[in-house]
Amino acid sequence: MAEKTFAGALNEAIKEEMRADPSIFVMGDSARSGIYGVTGGLHEEFGDDRVLDCPASETAFMGAAVGAAAVGMRPIVSSQCAFMWVAMDQLVNQVAKMKYMFGGQATLPLVYRMGIAYGNSGAAHHTDRPHPLYMNIPGLKIVMPSTPADAKGLFKTAVRDDDPVLFFEDNTLMRVRGEVPDGDYTIPYGVADVKRKGSDVTILAIGGMVSRSLAAAERLEANGISAEVLDPRSLVPLDKGAILQSVAKTGRFVAVDSANKTCSFASEACALVAEEGFWSLKAPVQRVASLMVHPPFSPVLERLVYPTEDRIIEAVNRTLA
């Protein structure tokens, strides 16, 4: 065990996997210079052929990764969600559909590293949290870790998987430090992690929302309310069983998501609990997600948009009213 940053843990995962498998290569926006440190040092160690700086042609390079994967390579694509929009045709029509539409002929071992940014006055064009959109598209696996240790283990699973994975990296976590196990280990998708045990209410949170939920749970504890904080770690596959089990125990459910509220991950989680866990519920389910407005530049206005500890606590209190 050693303490590492989220970015450092991802960097370690990529390096270890690249050393083990020569068919892995990294391509993307400024991959060689390693913005955020995730791809730092890769070019130095692995050279020109395995770390490619791409032109600002997201359609071409995100699609080229599909072609390379279809013939046996294992590309890791580095980019930011803000730039995914221009490559949507490739992500939806090629990445997600190719295997199914061609009757299984394509095998696509692909990882798209997608940074999600918010809370830094990026304004509407640089502040996207689009993970729920992709949950609506069959054929994609969707991962969003909340700790350095989870990031490393899940990234290794993603790189070794023969299916396309959208690996959402919450940029607010990049410099967060945490204990990371030494050496090689993987964390499977679809296995939720209880980040804090509790008995009165289940708070389901993802990415950067986990630490806010844990902080809210601390404050609730002071008021005698025991909150369980559950992190699904992957949105597709989703550990439905763990969510329903927790709700069966607590009887109350709050889902916290950085995405815009309508059709968010929180919406899907609440639908699941309402559909399959209804008889366990003592109160209506609650979504705490971003308000349905574009993130404004003004720091004063922007901080109103996203879930906060206060909003999480208010939602919990509604379930206890």
Binding site: G63, Y100, M101, G104, Q105, L108, P237
Partner: protein, 335 residues
Amino acid sequence: MPNAAPGVRALHLEMLRKMLLIRKFDEAAVGLAERREIAGAVHTYIGEEAVAVGACATLHDDDYITGNHRSHGHPIAKGADVNRAMAELFGKRTGYCKGKGGSMHLADFSVGILGESGILASALPVAVGAALASKLRKETKVVIPFFGDGASNEGACHESMNLAAIWKLPVVFVCENNQYAITTSYRATVSAEHIADRAAAYNMPGVVVDGQDVVAMYEATRAAVARARAGLGPSLIEGLTYRYREHAEGMGRMLSQPYRTEAEIEQWKKRDPIPLHKERLLDAGYATPADLVGIEREAEAAIEGALQFARESPEPAPEELFDDLFTNPIPIDRY
């Protein structure tokens, strides 16, 4: 073909076989669509056969192609099995895509056909990626993406050409300029005189070729493929050709005003690629009239056989609905 090298006769006969196979396949597809024996849209390649056949004749089995919604010609030219292609038109389990793709989306990865894409220019980045893999693995495999004049206006097309050019990837971009994007003339949508002129912007060779002449297509593509295999980068070939039938079967009935004249269609049919090539074979002494009849009969028999295979094949079973969504499937309780 004076002073033809050994093998040239066989090559030229094979190109006729392939063109006839595509023509008969698509004539059968027209009948199936008219009788509504198959579901979905059918886009025929009738009139354009020389482009794919001439280009694919330069490739090896392990080279790659991608294509578009006009999906039958490219795979047959590259060596696809007409039985499995026809079964896919019928949506049968024995089809190339097990009934998941249909007429617009044939693929046969076993002979390098990485799929026909229903979205214009969407397969071009994929083709460039296959070429990138070839270069990174130090192989000499070449990729031909086929696309039309309409797709040449897509951003994906331009990004792909630039990416292939800066990385000197083994791609031969083959644009089938069949004059119309559904009903819109390329003259109204392409800023340059020729689509091939755009190659200059990407610092690669660009040539305009008579796309009705299978040998002209073969020669132009051969030069570009040799360049690509030598590591010298991509090329753009624009084959001038013509779609005899409507964009998709049945679309003629939906047109509120004509976009082309009967005279124009007749003019192009006078240079039909199949009789043109037959004449050349006779002139060169590569075939007798009887040989040509025999080749045509073979193609007809192959398509008859494909129809029978497709009709007799089983429908997919309901439990196959979720098959092939993932390589490592997600358990139903987690999806």
